[in-house]
């Protein structure tokens, strides 16, 4: 770990001023940042510790039925907030499907959005990586690709965004609240993360010195509560990053779909909203044939980044299954193994 200057601001304005320094990085839960610093993969000149700033850790209901999640709300606190979990069950399920209980007690909502890829080549300082060193090349190309992207990747980078939390958030039109040197602004989460193109080192819409202060969900998101699921396929049933995940939600009038929401995780450098699939389901009957067509539409643009073509078919099946589970109804209580396809009773609906 490199030496760094440590700063502990008491206000957002102070934090933004301290982070204006080149090389400054915000510190919140630290669960990803410290790991990266120990591997010498990131070398911040200054850490601006925002965890002592008051007022950033509230879960506030909004007048429209939505909710404002402060950037410092811990993953576990959000998932276990009874009112939040009742109105946004797929988000609570996604949170509980991520990391371990210890990490969920430390990791924050804002930090989750800014976590870095889990690409093994990014994590290996001896490998070429355009994210770490722009122009260095990408050793993942032609390397081990089973966890890499199948949507939106470029010749310069095939890494994925590993978040679970962001997947249902993007499906439900979450808004990111941002403060920075030029003041306050908002960005839809869908446009917050960037695809790699030829600048894979630029991962988000944040300008230098900007910080996330909250994530907001509109009231419309809560209208899906009765039929909203998150499904995550991984190498082991707990404490593993997704190979493919999906958040699927339905608003139903009898067996007719009024509105559908779909986003996929770990398939691209950003949480992947599937608008075409949603449009196909709007007005359609809620049945397996239509879920299958939606899955085809969601993956229509997918292409393997190497030997990872299996993820495309896997993603189609995850989407179809997630809609089958959403259609069957949100369980009264999150299942013992959150988001797992191996959960007791999960096969009942297929």
């Amino acid at each position: 770990m490199n030496r760094f200057d440590y700063a502990r601001p008491a206000t957002i304005a102070e934090a933004v001023a301290l982070a204006a320094e080149p090389g400054a990085t915000y510190l919140a839960g630290g669960t990803n940042l410290l790991d990266l610093m120990k591997g010498d993969l990131v070398r911040p000149a200054r850490l601006v510790d925002v965890t002592h700033i008051p007022g950033l850790d509230a879960i506030e209901p909004l007048a429209d039925g939505g909710v404002r999640i402060g950037a410092l709300v811990r993953n576990a606190d959000l998932a276990h907030d009874a009112d939040f979990a009742r109105r946004f069950p797929a988000i609570a399920e996604a949170l509980l499907a991520g990391a371990s209980a210890q990490l969920r007690n430390a990791a924050t909502a804002g930090g989750n959005l800014l976590q870095r890829t889990r690409c093994a080549y990014f994590y290996d300082a001896a490998s070429a990586c355009n994210k770490r060193t722009p122009g260095a090349g990408c050793d993942a190309r032609g390397g081990e690709t089973r966890m890499q992207a199948v949507l939106g990747w470029s010749e310069h980078c095939i890494a994925t965004h590993p978040s679970d939390f962001c997947v249902p958030l993007v499906a439900f039109d979450a808004i990111v609240e941002i403060e920075g040197p030029k003041g306050r602004r908002e960005c839809p989460l869908e446009h917050f993360h960037r695809l790699p193109g030829d600048t894979p080192e630029r991962e988000s819409d944040l300008a230098p010195g900007e910080m996330i202060t909250a994530v907001r969900l509109p009231g419309a998101a809560a209208q899906f509560a009765g039929h909203a699921r998150y499904l995550k396929v991984r190498d082991r049933t707990s404490y593993a990053f997704a190979i493919v995940s999906a958040a699927a939600a339905l608003r139903l009038d009898g067996e007719t779909i009024v509105e559908a929401r779909l986003a996929l995780g770990s398939v691209a450098a950003k949480p992947w909203r599937a608008h075409a699939a949603e449009a196909l389901l709007a007005g359609a009957q809620a049945n397996e044939a239509n879920f299958r067509r939606a899955a085809e539409a969601a993956l229509a643009e997918a292409r393997p980044a190497g030997a990872n073509g299996y993820k495309i078919e896997l993603a189609r099946r995850v989407v179809r299954r997630a809609f089958i589970l959403a259609h069957a109804g949100t369980p009264a209580r999150i299942q013992a193994l959150p988001a797992s396809p191996f959960a007791t009773g999960a096969l009942r609906h297929v």
Partner: protein
């Protein structure tokens, strides 16, 4: 620049000077306070051997900068027994052979104490296993660990009822 840090560790207030902000809570506990019960396994948040309670909640102390937790209340494995009387979770780990080599055990026990405080699992072994997934045991004592957590939960509930009666 020296940084000053105040912590309560196992009930004792401590004020420490840090020459360098890079010190993690794990290294502070082991190297400065000589509380070596908290183990360093992977040092990267993957194994759970370094689990402690920070303000009553289980975390990986290897991924926490000490200076960021100025003012915190910390409980480590050294602080859970009452004199010679073991914590019910410690006693249950012994009763159920919830260990073999013992290296991961302090982290397992602190994680289990955190789990019982969270009160999310009930008596469902599947939920206990899921909630303990952040603690690896390479000897594979998982069956005993799950039994120990469930047993400790029962004995603590019984003791609570007896105390209330």
């Amino acid at each position: 620049m020296s940084l000053s840090l105040s912590l309560t560790v196992n009930g004792i207030a401590r004020t420490l000077d840090l020459a360098d902000p890079r010190v993690t809570l794990l290294d502070l506990l082991r190297d400065r306070l000589h509380l070596t019960g908290t183990k360093k396994g992977c040092d990267r948040g993957q194994c759970g051997a370094c689990t402690i309670l920070l303000d009553g909640r289980r975390i990986n102390s290897c991924l926490a900068l000490a200076i960021s937790h100025d003012g915190a209340d910390i409980l480590t494995i050294e602080g859970v027994a009452q004199g010679d009387q073991l914590h019910p979770v410690q006693a249950a780990f012994i009763a159920h052979d919830g260990l073999q080599c013992g290296y991961c055990t302090p982290g397992q026990i602190m994680s289990a104490i955190g789990l019982l405080r969270e009160a999310q699992t009930g008596d469902d072994p599947e939920r206990v296993r899921e909630a303990m997934s952040g603690n690896l045991c390479r000897c594979g004592a998982y069956a005993g660990i799950t039994a120990a957590v469930l047993d400790a939960q029962r004995s603590m509930a019984d003791a609570g009822r007896a105390h209330a009666a």
